[in-house]
């Protein structure tokens, strides 16, 4: 086993060697511009892009023509939201989204609102991080042009009832955008069945290269139109100009193909590994709390709060394991994770949270090591924690008058 261990697969993933292999010829031999229509170099590139488009579309049950390549999910979110709002401004300017969305969605909506181009309704989530479809229904007005709800949350892994939300959107004639960055390739996604009109996702979360993403834009029932946010050569059916990044697109396609073939087995393996990690840690340590939905979550996701210890110090104690924390000790605001806060997790428990993100290349041996290390470090830091000492002495920490600073 090699250290450090990578258990932060929600942030990014290592590229699958099979993906790299597929990409390599497109850097050197087949370097053509896919938009060059009059020579063999261009044709080879175009052919590769078409093949990748099909592989990507197949994974989400879309048509290849409905895939618009972007630089990543952040750009896709921006293009979807700004593009729809600009295109349909005559109809209305109201957007419905939720508090636990990724910043690429929230900040895009806020930016439009700040410019006076949109009004935004932020829906709450329940204790397990789920959006209630009835809240979506109730928030729709005759000015609503877009609903944007994520498939699975990047911190807590909870999976939203997308199909029900899609159904409501269709009933009400409102477009539905879904940020599916964390879900595509990990759980089955079917844009037809789920009633999704626009969908953002990217390659580097599914063992593909960084710097390439896609926006699915529905072509019929209804035909969705978006205003381009970048002017130029009119690539991607006029929706996103810029020379296509052929090697990255080839890698994205290959990554999708592998996910499609291996999703069932991989999901089963990761779920088993994740459940083992969860029960070993939570069985050995008292006062640990699972954040997010207990079952309806991404296979590789585990988010736990460890009472009485601060997340960043936990990460420091486990520095040979790459993890992420909801603690925001490094941020100037001292505000911990807004996602956990939206679930109603207390600020102190939000500071104490760790996100484990398991992926394709993690092994049972690595999980064994992680279990041992987590228990050891949490125990050590609790010995060091005045809060743990007080709790053990029977002091109710909520009754203490703390001097907030």
């Amino acid at each position: 086993m090699k250290l450090p261990i990578f258990l932060d697969n929600h942030s990014t993933t290592p590229m699958d060697p099979r993906v790299l292999e597929a990409m390599l010829p497109y850097f050197t031999e087949k370097f053509g511009n896919a938009a060059s229509r009059n020579h063999a170099f261009g044709w080879a590139a175009e052919e590769a892009v078409d093949a990748a488009r099909k592989q990507i579309a197949r994974l989400i049950n879309a048509d290849a023509k409905e895939i618009v390549f972007t630089s990543g999910a952040t750009e896709s979110d921006n293009l979807a939201i700004k593009g729809v709002l600009e295109m349909y401004k005559e109809k209305g300017t109201h957007i419905i989204t939720a508090v636990t969305e990724h910043r690429a969605v929230l900040d895009t909506a806020k930016a439009l609102e700040a410019k006076g181009l949109a009004t935004v309704t932020l829906l709450p989530v329940d204790k397990q991080g789920m959006v209630n479809p009835e809240d979506v229904r109730n928030a729709i007005t005759d000015k609503t042009v877009l609903i944007s709800i994520m498939l699975a949350n990047n911190e807590i892994g909870s999976i939203n009832p997308i199909k029900q939300i899609g159904k409501i959107a269709k009933e009400k004639g409102v477009l539905f955008h879904c940020d599916a960055t964390q879900g595509v390739g990990k759980i089955p996604v079917n844009v037809q069945d789920m009633g999704i009109d626009l969908m953002s996702f990217s390659a580097h979360k599914i063992y593909g290269p960084k710097g390439i993403g896609a926006l699915y834009v529905r072509k019929k029932n209804p035909r969705v139109r978006i205003a381009a946010q970048m002017d130029g050569g009119g690539h991607e059916r006029g929706m996103r100009s810029g020379t296509l990044a052929v090697p990255l697109i080839v890698g994205f396609g290959k990554a999708c193909e592998i996910c499609q073939q291996e999703m069932a087995a991989e999901s089963e393996r990761l779920t088993k590994m994740r459940d083992r990690l969860q029960s070993a840690i939570m069985g050995a340590l008292e006062e640990t709390y699972l954040n997010g939905h207990p079952t309806n979550r991404l296979p590789g996701n585990l988010n736990i709060s460890f009472a009485y210890v601060e997340g960043e110090s936990l990460l420091m104690g486990m520095k040979d394991i790459a993890l992420s924390s909801g603690s925001a000790c490094t941020s100037a605001t001292l505000e911990p994770s807004y996602v956990l806060r939206a679930l109603g997790v207390g600020t102190e428990l939000a500071h104490s949270s760790i996100r484990f993100g398991l992926g394709r290349f993690n092994t049972d041996e690595e999980i064994d090591y992680t279990i041992k290390k987590v228990i050891e470090v949490v125990t050590k830091l609790r010995e060091m924690s005045p809060l743990y000492e007080m709790a053990k002495d029977g002091v109710d920490l909520k009754s203490v008058q703390w001097a907030a600073h």
Binding site: E310, E312, H351, M384, L387, A404
Partner: protein, 127 residues
């Protein structure tokens, strides 16, 4: 963000971690911070003849907060009450090479020292 070697050393080998009994003779206790803010420090001094003969800490917080309080206990030992009063957060920042986002950890450590001294004075005045 990379931690300085000194922060890592204090974090891995905390000095004087532990507690005195609060009602023990000559003990002053300072508890500062709040759980919602992500850090709480408890710093204790044991005083004989106006000199700090021992110090202990317990901290809930990030690595820099733990290192700041660990360092503070090291510095406090052997100092007179008057000298201890003069320890500044900037001294801690310098010694541990704390980045700007971690300066509040050193401020908290200074507050903890002041609180422990005040508690000791209050208790000895009461006698």
């Amino acid at each position: 963000m990379a931690y300085s070697d000194k922060v890592v050393d204090h974090f891995n080998n905390p000095r004087n971690m532990g507690s005195f009994k609060k009602d023990e003779d000559g003990v002053g206790t300072g508890m500062v911070g709040a759980p919602e803010c992500g850090d709480v420090m408890k710093l204790q001094i044991k005083v004989q003849n106006d000199t700090i003969v021992d110090a202990k800490f317990k901290t809930f917080g990030c690595g820099s907060a733990i290192a700041s309080s660990s360092l503070a206990t090291e510095w406090l030992k052997g100092k007179t009450l008057e000298e201890a009063q003069k320890i500044k957060n900037t001294d801690i920042v310098q010694e541990l090479n704390l980045p700007p986002v971690k300066i509040h950890c050193s401020v908290l450590a200074e507050d903890a020292i002041k609180a422990a001294l005040a508690d000791y004075h209050k208790k000895s005045d009461a006698k």
